[in-house]
Symmetry: none
Subunit: 282 residues, 2 copies
């Protein structure tokens, strides 16, 4: 199959697709802008960010809304991503073999360990839950499908902190460090500075597990491990959580099962390429 193929954009400006449709290219750059906001945005914010007149953006948004990719909030008039975008994403994730294979065995992991289990992938808003097995013991919690986690004080967040390439992390990490520093917050194993972050992430990568011990969400204990690709970068975080502090013990069977699960679903980097990318970036 040697056919001429459309080139995926390799810069952030978007530009026009050879052999494509100009109006569609422009519209898709608007959709990308909408995605890049942390939440609902005004027409003028979107237009400013996209570098387009508001009336043009408005017409694109009308079509996105009609297609279900965007919604406009009744009260605020702000625009947000819609249900179709979520369904598109779920469909796309379901074509990611790392997620699919880990999903297939998540229920068993939860059953064997007696904990609730989740899979999270990275999004613009940070680590996001895409699969969840509650198990019999966890009747209620605020954690659900679509939940996101902080980087510094969640097990899942720390795993992403340890294995995600730095450029993707930079802004969110900076924000969390600044917020913690100005609030005077620190943790027993982590101060809000980069050197301390480095030490924690080295520990996570060495032990292949991160944890939080109930201090952050009262009563809830969590451990997380990275499913990594051939470049040593994280594809999915697998996390166990529950209310028993036993989960944190180094000899805990659940902890071993989790590390084994993540390892089995990872692809080891080719040895001759040297260190995993995740390590090199630090």
């Amino acid at each position: 199959m040697k056919r001429t193929r459309a080139k995926e954009t390799d810069d952030e400006s978007g530009g026009t697709a050879p052999g494509g449709i100009q109006a569609l290219d422009a519209a898709l750059s608007v959709l990308r802008v909408l995605r890049s906001f942390d939440g609902p945005a005004t027409l003028s914010d979107i237009a400013r960010e996209a570098g387009m007149p508001p009336s043009k953006v408005h017409r694109y948004l009308a079509s996105f809304i009609h297609a279900g990719l965007a919604v406009q909030k009744e009260r605020s008039g702000r625009y947000d991503l819609g249900r179709e975008a979520a369904e598109l994403g779920v469909a796309a994730i379901s074509r990611n073999n790392f997620v699919v294979r880990a999903s297939d065995e998540l229920e068993e992991l939860a059953t064997v360990t007696g904990q609730a289990a989740l899979l999270a992938v990275w999004s613009h808003n940070g680590p996001t839950v895409v699969r969840l097995e509650r198990g019999p013991h966890l009747t209620t919690t605020s954690i659900g499908l679509g939940s996101t986690f902080p980087l510094l004080d969640s097990a899942t967040g720390r795993v992403f902190l340890s294995y995600l390439p730095s450029p993707q992390l930079a802004v969110r990490l900076q924000n969390e460090l600044e917020r913690a520093a100005s609030a005077g917050v620190s943790w027993p194993d982590l101060n809000p500075d980069l050197a301390s972050v480095e030490a924690v992430t080295m520990k996570v990568r060495r032990e292949r597990v991160a944890y939080v011990d109930g201090r952050y969400i009262p009563g809830l204990v969590a451990i997380s491990s990275a499913i990594t690709n051939w470049q040593g970068e994280i594809e999915v975080a697998a996390t166990l959580f529950g209310t028993h502090k036993d989960l944190l013990q180094p000899e805990s069977p659940a902890r071993s099962a989790l590390i084994d699960f993540a390892s089995r679903h990872s692809i080891a980097p080719p040895a001759q390429l040297g260190k995993p990318r995740g390590a090199q970036v630090r």
Copy 2:
């Protein structure tokens, strides 16, 4: 915020968005088609399904590829969803909150149907009311925020019974079955045994609505439908209740509006994950 707002498409054909861009509408229907395949698809398959000439579809795909929403496989030449589709989608699900989004439109549902409306989520105490709209007619009822419902003889409870994973239901369901059996209670459509529960829940899932007809709370009629996530599990039950038995008729506009409401606020699983998890658990 009362401005004229674009309407999300309410049928599967897509059509054109008033105030939108026609080429974009057409392109987005192609993206939807691409999504609906359970894996990589040929240009001609996509064009056939979209009802468009291949050359037109090819141009749209060129733009989608350029934007990262689609990729073309090197070897087979088939088209699939790209990384940017996953990123868009995960951003959408990280911003989605089932309760908040349903709440935003609950008042309109109550107004359009002329019924009182409520949203309930699962809690330690079973189905629990988290949002309540009284609607235009005065309904005397003790239902308020925080009210809980039984599983067997309430519409809301039956919806949870039909869509909640079995481990979470087990203890509460067992208790209600034993209590009914020892009190010698049964219902016209439900005996207090697991086989009968199974039949009722299959019916609820097939019809996508559960109801009680005034026999349980004198004078009160209720129908309920499930807002479900991409694992096929219930996130929120949306319930209409009032005093008019018309609510129970299969052709009742309120019933249709409720089912549509729940469907619009659900995120459907992708096709190739097979059966929804909620169903498999039975």
